[in-house]
Amino acid sequence: MLSVENLTVYRGGRLVLDNVSLTLNPGEVTAVLGLNGAGKTTLLKAILGFLPRQGGTLTEDGQPLDQLSPAERAKKLAYVPQRYDGGFRYTAEDFVSMGATAYLGAFSRPGKGELRRAEELLRALDCGHLVGRPMDKLSGGEQRMAYLARAMLQDAGCLLLDEPVSSLDLSRQHGFLGSLRAYVHRRRAGCLLTIHAPELAYAYADRVLILHDHRILMDGARDGAGFEEALRQALGTLYGPALQVDTLNGALVLGWRPADHETG
């Protein structure tokens, strides 16, 4: 269980996160919604230790994350960045096998065993066809799947994903989030992902967290009492009266009606 308490982060002298606290429970997908600039990415990067924070504590099962070596930390937290930006070319299985880095000695490298495991993980995600193909030639959706496979190989207690589905087409979005959710539930891993689409958060997250004005506006479990009402209210605060929210066959449906638009 990962706990974030009273996290405060300034970037370039500007307050981005103000006293944010949250917990990531094992086997639970937590989705973070928020407007552009609300601090979603900052939250992720501060937890990962990429950004200095001005206050707050990060603990995993009571153990402060700051005291861990990079390798120990990598066994607790896996990261999926917003986009693939490899400077050089690697095959997909080679890329996935780098998830084993934290378990290797300083001078060792992934061997045949890690490569085989990487291929198995890709196949388990229905991505066997990516084996042997260079990462930079894959589609955005395929790259995401390779990242997921790498995080699975890393076998960290918590997954942190920065807008993993923003650039994907509709079916790939559902494919990715479905695989992620299945893995998180099976592995009993904690999971924090930032996302822009409330309907996807509603469909795949076990918990929804909304960041607004540098603070947490809403933090609700999907099956908790009053979840839908709280979500509607929070979305209303975010997007104003133009946003129309409804449910249809258990899915969240969104509409947009601009203020100056006369409707019958």
Binding site: P70, P81, F88, R89, T101, Y103, F107
Partner: protein
């Protein structure tokens, strides 16, 4: 296919090694080589030329070619940029300042020249790193801009020193050094550079997988469990030692560190760890060929950077044109 490219590289290296040993103002044939190696030519001119001149020069050239190419490969990986050369942090400029100081103030002493150029190279890179830390912000950007600043300062110092130099003698020596050459190669030079180069190279061999993970970028590498700061510093230090040690014995040999890793990636295919070793072999072989050309094209010896720059620039142009129509190269 993979095996064949390794075999090809080893054959290329062996052939260029042999060619460099035999070719020159005092030509040796395979029959002479047999006589020398079997001891039949003991005490003859042939033997002296072969062991004391040719072999020393060939070994030193191969060593420098390998060191410069590996340094280029490492720097390209660290900066995640296939167009970076080992000079990016100012090592060549600093080495030049050191060498020129030695030429101006210590005259003919080759030992001082070597020591000063080596120290100048290391010092400049250390200053670049400190400046980058003082600038802060984006690591790639601040390192590159620090390298540019230190390079410019070194360049100013080079110009000032050249301006002070005696134009009839010292200036020519300086200019010749700045164009690089192996004509002063000796076993002494080889043994003074080889330990440094072998140690730095061995550390890089051990760190090659960490370097590969670093090419994903600092944040991803850190999230995968790499201690980014120490790993990066160790790689920069080793690559700098490789460059400074080879520049200190040969003068400035341009373009090899930039072109060879490129050539290896385009011709032999992308595979980070294989490319690491291929750069070493290919760098040694190509510099041997360039050096053999440099001492045999004209009656008098040509500075080697003329050839490496010419061939390197032509290759880069061809490579960029090829890329336009085809695959991403790196």
């Amino acid at each position: 296919m993979k095996k064949r490219s390794w075999l090809g590289l080893w054959l290329l290296l062996a052939a260029s090694f042999l060619l460099s040993c035999l070719w020159g103002r005092y030509p040796l044939g395979l029959a002479d080589l047999w006589e020398i190696l079997s001891g039949q030519a003991a005490g003859t001119m042939k033997e002296v030329v072969f062991w004391n001149i040719r072999m020393a020069r060939t070994c030193l050239t191969a060593l420098c070619g390998a060191a410069l190419s590996l340094a280029g490969f490492v720097y390209q990986g660290l900066f995640r940029n296939p167009l970076v050369s080992p000079d990016v942090l100012g090592v060549s400029g600093g080495a030049s300042v050191g060498a020129i100081c030695a030429i101006l103030f210590w005259g003919e002493s080759l030992g001082a020249l070597q020591l000063f150029s080596f120290a100048g190279g290391l010092l400049t890179v250390a200053l670049s790193l400190l400046l980058a830390r003082a600038i802060g912000g984006n690591r790639y950007f601040n390192l590159i801009i620090s390298g540019i600043i230190l390079g410019a300062l070194a360049n100013a110092a080079i110009m000032a020193l050249k301006y002070m130099a005696d134009p009839t003698q010292e200036l020519a020596v300086i200019d010749y050094w700045l164009m690089g050459s192996f004509h002063l190669a000796s076993w002494e030079k080889f043994w003074s550079a080889a330990p440094l180069i072998l140690i730095a190279g061995a550390v890089l061999v051990l760190l090659r997988y960490r370097l590969k993970v670093l090419t994903l970028g600092d944040e991803e590498a850190a999230s995968l469990g790499v201690a980014v700061g120490p790993a990066r510093l160790a790689c920069v230090a080793c690559a700098t030692v490789l460059t400074a040690a080879s520049v200190s014995v040969s003068g400035i040999v341009s373009w090899v560190g930039l072109i060879v890793p490129h050539l290896v990636r385009t011709v032999l295919g992308d595979d980070f760890e294989a490319n690491f070793f291929q750069s070493i072999l290919c760098g040694a072989a190509l510099l041997l060929l360039a050096d053999t050309l440099a001492r045999s094209l004209l009656p008098s010896e040509i500075p080697i950077s003329i050839l490496t720059s010419l061939i390197g620039a032509a290759f880069l142009a061809a490579f960029l044109i090829h890329r336009k129509g085809g695959e991403r190269p790196c």
